[in-house]
């Protein structure tokens, strides 16, 4: 059924398109879905991705930037020459597909374990951290005047948000408490420069090919704030997938990441990055606890959700390694 609707939609803006084929859902929660499909065209099929909130779902929840903002950011990144899919179409009510957009499909890998272990990425791994540093700098350099309306964040606000969420679970976790205290005491205050922040720049949201990074995805958590946040988040140990001595995604060093960032004409503040790494580690831990809450309250009563709840202890050991390292 979605193929019929997509076919009608595509025919309205893609000259010569005769329909779509091979539609398959890649991922989806209750309120947001990602579909892959091919646009059928006499000169050859074209790979496309639909990202949408199905009909009946209104505004995006909580921290989400919203699908319209995501489409705008992706197109801005693409126009600035950053690795980003081209947005082909923003859904209209007449499309009867809900809210969202259709973008070009970019081939490559997003699964961290493959990127970190498969032979075909052997040449990409040593160059990735530097490359990603340049890409993050490019994101932070996007013209503020062109940005869609986004929530404004600061370290102080983020600490308060995390604390509120943690307290709402009503389950004592002394290590999280210690981390919150540490963050409050070292809150660096407002950033001198406030820029677009991707907000979820890490494995899973990056398409990697044998040649390196090909696309940045998932701008759902984009906001305006301290640019050092993105550099700290990609260093969080949870995204190293076992390669714990390579802080950047399990493939690179902070020095490489920072060098790439500064090559693009921007400054790194390593202390602030470290602050955001601690914040990010706690944030992922609290997100894991949130999964457990949603598992318990339903409707998604899945084993996967439940088991992610049991990963919050991983962030506790990582927080202790950061805040209270034991004598080596």
């Amino acid at each position: 059924m979605i193929e019929e609707q997509l076919g009608r939609c595509v025919a309205s803006w893609y000259p010569g398109a005769t329909g779509v084929t091979g539609a398959a859902k890649l991922s989806g929660g209750a309120s947001q879905e990602t579909w892959t499909f091919d646009i059928v065209h006499p000169s050859g099929n074209v790979g496309a991705i639909l990202r949408r909130a199905p009909p009946g779902y209104g505004a995006s929840p909580g921290r989400a930037a919203g699908l319209d903002a995501e489409a705008t950011l992706m197109q801005l990144a693409h126009d600035a020459g950053l690795p980003s899919p081209r947005v082909m179409h923003v859904l209209k009510p007449a499309d009867e597909l809900g809210r969202g957009f259709i973008m070009q499909r970019i081939e490559g890998e997003t699964i961290a374990r493959k990127i970190l272990r498969d032979e075909q990425f052997a040449k990409a791994r040593p160059i990735l951290a530097r490359q990603l540093g340049r890409v993050i700098a490019g994101i932070h350099g996007l013209a503020p005047a062109k940005l869609p309306k986004l929530r404004e964040m600061s370290a102080t606000k983020e600490i308060a948000d995390l604390e509120r969420e943690y307290r709402s679970f009503d389950r004592p976790r002394p290590v999280f408490e210690l981390a919150l205290r540490w963050l409050r005491e070292r809150d660096p205050g407002p950033s001198r420069e406030v820029t677009l922040v991707h907000g979820d720049f890490r494995h899973g949201n990056l398409i990697i090919g044998p040649d390196g990074v090909r696309a940045v995805l998932d701008w759902e958590l984009a906001h305006v704030g301290d640019p050092m946040e993105d550099l700290g988040w990609i260093c969080v140990n949870s995204w190293r997938f076992g390669e714990i001595d390579k802080p950047v995604g399990g493939f690179g060093t902070r020095e490489e990441l920072f060098a790439g960032y500064e090559e693009a004409g921007r400054k790194v503040d390593p202390d602030r990055v470290m602050f955001w790494e601690v914040m990010g580690t706690l944030r992922w831990g609290i997100m894991c606890c949130g999964m457990m809450q949603r598992f318990r309250q339903g409707p998604d009563h899945s084993m996967e959700r439940a088991m992610i709840g049991r990963r919050s202890s991983e962030t506790e050991i990582d927080l202790l390694r950061l805040l209270a390292p034991r004598g080596k």
Binding site: R240, I244, M303, M307, R310, S313, I317, A324
Partner: protein, 124 residues
Amino acid sequence: MQDEPTPTELIKAVADFLRNEIAPEIKGHNAFKLRVGINALDLVTRQLTLEQGSDAAESARLKQLLGADGPLIESNRALCEKIAKGEVDLQTPGLAEHLWQTTMDKLAVDQPNYASYKRELGNK
């Protein structure tokens, strides 16, 4: 008194069956879900084996730190409050050791293959 086999033995038998006989037959997304399910059963087995000992040790440490006895959850609440208020911190004798030991005991159940945990096991 309930009869044998024990819950631990039963769960382990089911997990081994799923792992050795069923997993090789399943493909695609269900293979992934089955792996998650087997991991969950293994976790439960580890918890049933380890929890009593680690809870008792945690209680004893909390009693030492707080100077008061109580159910584990209440002691942890009390400790959290003290940390939040700054009444105890990493300079407080025993606190860092307590948090480390408690966390190591959680990882031994939750995720014994987590790289940070394996590193710290060899790094005591």
